[in-house]
Structure formats: structure tokens, C-alpha cells
Symmetry: C2
Subunit: 323 residues, 2 copies
């Protein structure tokens, strides 16, 4: 009997383990608090029960669902794209911010400021149809590699967060991305990678124009800002696209402050989560002084607002999906 | 046996009838073509099968899902709202377009043109939080009555179209409203009335501002246009909110032309539907010369584009839901 028990027990535990939510999370207070929240809001009869249509969860993307170092991945796309277009634009050799970018002079690019950034975005993100842009993004993602890991960018997503998205959906939540990144830069791949369809992606966007091209209707991307979906823009993007206040929000930087504030200051059960990048070995360690994903005020205010900080190093058993 | 058959057969027929889709539609070619399209796109193995995530259906609201005569219901809201606010604005007695509106002088209001309309929208739709606006709309709908039928406006919806929405959802379609009407004017009631949640409502919208009010975050409605979701604006609103081209579109006026064109010019199976108001007795009869919901070019082009015209009088057994 003892022999059988010693064989059966581990098997039973394995089975139980596989059925447990969030397997790539260590069994810390963070994991426990997430599960407690999701269970109480999804259990009929619970005093914190929330009807299915109100179970709205919003997630920042850069630094929350995938890495954002050594630079936002969309910025790597911009750089690669300018290089790819450069042969058709000999004038860029003399013209900022293109000249600096082509020389790999980050300081020179930075010196061109907001205006320079807008010019880079204009030539790489506008003047084509949404279909053409989707093709360009998809082709880039198929070949581009992250400089540190050598993996495709879509494999630089956080396995624990992908599990969290799935767990929430299993419990009747509708999951949305609410990102400062470009809406059309994300839509071509979020369904496959996160299980989030294009209609549940909110992001920064430019104006569009409906017009005829070679006898066919197209939507052309214009070089005019529509929404900057960051900071105060996040609650605005949420209202515009979702029309209802979320009850769960996850972010990683001060750009998510207002989204967390808007989400958690509503009535009833609310959850605010901040991914704190503490793992220099497996990912990156940064917060207050980072160029990308600066986390300062939101970290200071987290305790008094009841926002839960994920300590990546301690809370996550795995960072990226298995190859 | 004969006696039993004469009892059993009608019962069986009743059961079959109840299970059939679109019971408030007469069994005309229109109904048959809708069902044929939905079945072929939702049946695995069919050469026209469409995967669930791509089964996107978009519906205009005014004149397509509910009536729009003798005037857009949102305009009735504006008029009632100006009257309700007038005691606090004695200056409106001398100021256009308010003076004409308060005197019931439609021509005088019309004379103030686009500028006058914007002023009316500004005082009735902006300067409050989205929560306050929702309360105002909900209170108005609870008491306002349609001038002809005497029914609440939310009972002036088309029963056959409500059934079509439900039938599409049953077959794996995601249903969206894409209306020229105000997005926040529709969201408070579309879930209850149409089964369409706020995040699937696209409409004309104004800019929003995230700010603190009495120590709490609010979203304030600003008197600045964000999107006019009509004509060329409809495909733009679709891309912005849905990010994917629909395969089914329903409208009733030239304001839906571009939405129908955008939807039906994609590859694969597509369906364009136009509600033609032909029933002066049970609803209204109007098309080319109507002030609200003018249907002219879209009707002329329907045959060659394969858009199906619903002849309300012939195709619908019922117009409104039972009381
Ligand atoms: Ca971020
Ligand atoms: Ca209409």
C-alpha cells in the first residue's frame, strides 16, 4: 500500500497542479490575491459577485504583457523601417532625424524631439492603407529578432501574464489591451499571441481617410494624431472603445497611473496590478530612472491605493513561453 | 388515428415554427436570402464557411433598428432637454437657435444651420460627466413617449431586426451598432434592448477630458467633435473600434452607403441589407425625399451591388415588439 501511495500521490498532485490557475506564477501573496479577487467576483452568491458583462479587464502592453527593453519594440520597428526605406530617400542622409537614425546616433535622434519623432512615425506609419500597414508589420515580426534574446518579438511576451489573460477569460472576463503603442501595430498579432481580438485592442491612433484607390475602397492612414492612449488618454480610450469602467487593470509604469486610478476608484470590488521589473537576470530591472516604462509615482502611491505590485523576480516562476 | 393526427400535427408545426429563425419575418425571398447567407457562413465544411472571429455584423441604428420619424429620437431628446433647461437660461428667449426651438418654430431652428445645431448639441450633450449624461438619457427614456404611437422610444425598435441580431449571435456572429447617432446616447440602453453591450456600440462622439472633480476622477464631455460616424465616417468608425472589416452590414439610408460598400467589397461571402420604409400604415413610408433617413443613391446602386432591400410592408409580419 505504501508503495502504491508513493506512486499515486505525486501523480494526483501533478494532475491537481495542471488544473490550477496561473501555473507559471510562484505561489506567493501576489498570486493568492489575484486568484482570491477573480474567484470572489466570479462566484454567484459571493457578496463581491460581479455580473459577466461588467467583468472588464484592461492591460497595458509594453512592459506589462511583453518586454520593452532595451527599447519599445515599436521603436525597433521604426528604426528597421526607416533603414528599409532609406534607399528610396537619398535626401534623408542630410535631413534630421533620419540622418542621425541612419548613423545609429540615438542622441542625435533624441535632439530632434517630439517633432522628429512625429516625422519618423509619419514616414513609417502613415501614407499607406491599413491593409498595407498590416502586411508590413506582419512581415517585420516574422523576421525581426530581439537584440538580447535573439527571439522573435512575439515570443518576448510574459508567460505568467498570458496565463492571467486566459484565466480571467475562463472566469467570464472580457480582456482588453489599453496601450500607448499604436493600435494598428498591435492588432495584426494580438489575437494569436494573447487571445485578444482586434476589436478589444485600444491604442494610440492616427486619423483615417476612406477613399477610392484603383476603383476599390481603402482606409488610408493619415499623419494626424487621433488619440495618444497614454496617461490621461487611457481612461479616454477606455471610455471611447469600451464605454464602461473596467474592474481590473494591469500596467507597469506611470503612463498607467490614470488607468489604474480610473479603474480602482469605481464602486465595488476592484483590482489594480503593477508589473515591477526586478529581474535583471531573466529580464530587466528598472523603475524610477528608466527611459522606457518609468515607474515612480504609481509605485509610491500603490500601497495607499491598494494596487498590487508584481515582483517579477519573486512572483514569476517563468518569464517567457517555452521555445 | 385520424383524430390524433389532427391534434398532433398542428402542435408539431407550432413547435417547428417556434424553433425557426426570424419568426416575425414573412417567408419571402428576403428572409430566405438572409438565412441562406447566415447558414452557409456558419456551417463548417461549407465553401463559404467563415471562422467565428471574422463573423462581424454591423447595424445602423436610426431607421434600421428603430424608427426615425417624425424626427430622429435623439433630436426629440435635444428639444425636451432644451425645454427642461430653459428656466435656468432666460437669455435663450432672445437667442437663436434656442428662441425658435422654444417657440416650436422648426424653420427658425433650421435657419441657424450647422452652427445652431452644434450649439444645441453642446448645451444638451456636453459640459457634464459621462455618468451624469447617462443618468439624463436614462431618465428621459423612462418618461418620453413617441408622438404617434405613444409608446416609449425603446419600444419603437423593429422586432424583425431584434430577431435578426439574436439569430446572428446564435450563429457565432458578433453584432455591432455603427450609427450616426451619439455613442453615449445609445450605450445606456442598447444592451437591454438589442443585446449589444456598450463596447460594441460605435457612434458619433465628442472629445472627453479626464479630470478630478471633488477629489474623484471623472470623464467630462467636451463641446468638440471627435468623430461624425456617418457616410465616409462609418468605415473609419468601424476600423477604429472593430479593426476588422465586417462581412454583414445593415442600414437604411445614403448615410450607410460607405459602410455597405466597405463591407461588401471585401473578399469572400458578404451581405448588404437595406431597410426600405414602405409601410405608411404600420410605420412610415419614405425614401428619396425624406428629411430623416434619405435613401436615394444606395437604393439605385443596390441591385448592381447585390444589396438586399427589405420591403418593410411585404417582408415583415410584425413591426414593433408586442406590448
Ligand atoms: Ca507600459
Ligand atoms: Ca439610418
Amino acid at each position: 500500500m505504501k508503495a502504491i501511495a508513493s506512486f499515486i500521490l505525486p501523480v494526483l498532485m501533478l494532475v491537481a497542479r495542471a488544473a490550477e490557475p496561473l501555473p507559471s506564477w510562484n505561489d506567493t501573496e501576489t498570486r493568492k490575491s489575484i486568484i482570491a479577487f477573480v474567484e470572489k467576483t466570479a462566484t454567484e452568491g459571493s457578496s463581491d459577485f460581479v455580473p459577466v458583462p461588467e467583468r472588464i479587464a484592461v492591460f497595458d502592453n509594453d512592459g506589462t504583457l511583453w518586454s520593452e527593453q532595451p527599447m519599445y519594440f515599436q521603436l525597433a520597428f521604426v528604426i528597421d523601417r526607416v533603414k528599409a526605406l532609406a534607399p528610396d530617400h537619398p535626401e534623408w542622409k542630410e535631413k534630421e532625424p533620419f540622418a542621425s537614425l541612419l548613423k545609429g546616433d540615438a542622441k542625435g535622434v533624441a535632439a530632434s524631439g517630439q517633432k522628429g519623432l512625429m516625422e519618423l512615425l509619419a514616414v513609417t506609419h502613415t501614407g499607406m492603407t491599413i491593409g498595407e500597414f498590416e502586411t508590413i508589420v506582419t512581415a517585420w515580426l516574422a523576421t525581426a529578432k530581439h537584440p538580447k534574446s535573439g527571439r522573435p518579438y512575439t515570443e518576448m511576451v510574459f508567460q505568467p501574464m498570458v496565463e492571467l489573460l486566459g484565466y480571467l477569460r475562463e472566469k467570464g472576463y472580457k480582456t482588453f489591451i489599453v496601450s500607448g503603442g499604436g493600435i494598428e501595430f498591435m492588432r495584426p498579432w494580438t489575437e494569436k499571441v494573447y487571445g485578444i481580438p482586434p476589436e478589444q485592442v485600444v491604442g494610440s491612433s492616427g486619423k483615417l481617410k476612406y477613399e477610392m484607390k484603383d476603383g476599390k475602397p481603402v482606409l488610408t492612414k493619415l499623419p494626424e494624431i487621433d488619440l495618444i492612449d497614454d496617461k490621461e488618454g487611457k481612461p479616454v480610450g477606455i471610455q471611447s472603445h469600451i464605454g464602461r469602467r473596467p474592474i481590473f487593470a494591469a500596467g507597469n509604469s506611470d503612463g498607467d497611473f490614470q488607468m489604474l486610478e480610473w479603474t480602482t476608484s469605481g464602486k465595488g470590488p476592484r483590482f489594480g496590478l503593477i508589473v515591477h521589473h526586478t529581474d535583471a537576470e531573466r529580464e530587466y530591472a528598472y523603475d524610477r530612472d528608466s527611459h522606457f516604462g518609468k515607474l515612480d509615482k504609481a509605485m509610491d502611491e500603490a500601497p495607499k491605493r491598494g494596487w498590487v505590485l508584481v515582483d517579477m523576480k519573486k512572483d514569476w516562476a517563468t518569464i517567457y513561453p517555452e521555445k
